[in-house]
Symmetry: none
Subunit: 221 residues, 2 copies
DNA sequence: CTGTAGAACAGGAATTATTCCCATATATTT
DNA sequence: AAATATATGGGAATAATTCCTGTTCTACAG
């Protein structure tokens, strides 16, 4: 008989873990299920039992999902991590994959997808939420294989970005930079396009995430 | 024998519902459990079966949580709603209570608290997550450093605020809330005026500071 | 019971902002 | 010298925002 898949479930919400568990145990391919409610214990349990697949929620307090993932990957580059996130934004998915995740699904996914993804990853494959994969494909098709990073901004665009993200109006930014309103308005547009953002609110949040502006509540990663 | 408590579970994530269900069925006081994955069907099921308690996830305001609650309360002022949220910020709790919820617990709560709260509410009582209750007491003592300005927003304005601050465009927000574009555009203006903000970037930063939206770098309180 | 007030919702018209497509200048690379 | 990237802004079409208006509802005071 084939070995069953062992899984380490990491999520800080007990109820949510119960939910995952319910679905995972429905599959006869899946055996032991370990549980952890935070990154620290997840790392420890991982070292101890070496589960085949880690199902990880990345929106956790404490060390956070990303950091836990990095540590596990660091310890064992072959480790198979499936990220199960509430975020359906591409940024999170690409970040997770870059950090070493083998799969990324979201909580809105059909529950069956969970076991499907776990099995795929256990076999050495990968699994990306179809909707996100498509979204990525589209965004690539539309604006090419472009670095959606702040580094893709020209110096001047970056100046404008900082001011707009901080909450200045287009007019205020143009006065501060001694530029024509039109110039700033045009940068405004090119910045959003380069960074694939739709609104200045997204600019603000990105800047906050990147530590460019302070909200007063940042945590050190 | 005493009648068992019937519960309507509202959460858009199937896995999460499975989790609630696991814990709720552990108690012999709880009987039938109905499920809904969105506000619309929740309202419909509520009218149809009149469950004793509604366990409602308001994960992100606007997407149906708050609005569904208001509708149910509208239809039956005696209806007993327990909000089960991921947000441990006071704003959400006070808003939920104002909108008619009988209880508010968070997903970080010990799972046993769920059934405890459901039972308390079924009996006509109320239940507030102890940590939040304490937090509120403290903040009242300090004379609400909390969100004094956010309080000036009407419930609907608050819904719109959350979405715009998160980076949705006016059109996207109107679609999510099923409102006319014009209505959202008008709220957009009134929100900025009430909060003395000039741009949506400022809205985003304020929301981030208040912990209403996550940038992924927040400090845990 | 009636009136007032607040809130939710949305249309119309005037005003602004944004987009897209230019054009020019300058500096750097190749 | 030619190509490329950047900085700067104009013009015109389009879209978003503001400000004002109105209709419903509900809540609540007198």
């Amino acid at each position: 008989m084939i070995e069953k898949i062992s899984v380490l479930l990491v999520d800080d919400h007990a109820v949510v873990r119960a939910g995952y568990k319910t679905y995972l145990t429905l599959s006869e391919k899946i055996g032991t299920i370990y549980e952890a409610d935070r990154g620290e214990s997840a790392c420890q349990l991982y070292s101890e039992y070496r589960p085949d697949v880690v199902v990880l929620d990345i929106s956790m307090p404490g060390m956070g999902g990303f950091e836990a993932m990095r540590r596990m990957v660091n310890r064992d580059t072959q480790c198979k991590i499936l990220v199960f996130s509430i975020h359906d934004e591409l940024v999170f998915m690409t970040r997770a994959i870059k950090a070493g995740a083998k799969g990324y699904i979201i909580k809105n996914s059909e529950p069956e997808i969970l076991t499907e993804a776990v099995c795929a990853i256990a076999k050495g494959g990968s699994y990306i939420e179809p909707k996100l994969a498509q979204k990525l494909a589209l965004s690539v098709a539309i604006d090419g294989i472009e670095e959606r990073s702040l580094k893709s901004l020209t110096p001047r665009e970056f100046d404008v970005f900082c001011l707009l993200a901080k909450g200045l109006t287009t007019r205020e930014a143009s006065e501060k930079l001694r530029l024509s309103y039109k110039t700033v308005a045009n940068y405004h547009t090119s910045i959003k396009e380069k960074l694939a953002l739709k609104t200045v609110a997204e600019m603000a949040l990105l800047a906050s995430r990147e530590g460019i502006i302070k909200t007063g509540h940042e945590k050190i990663l």
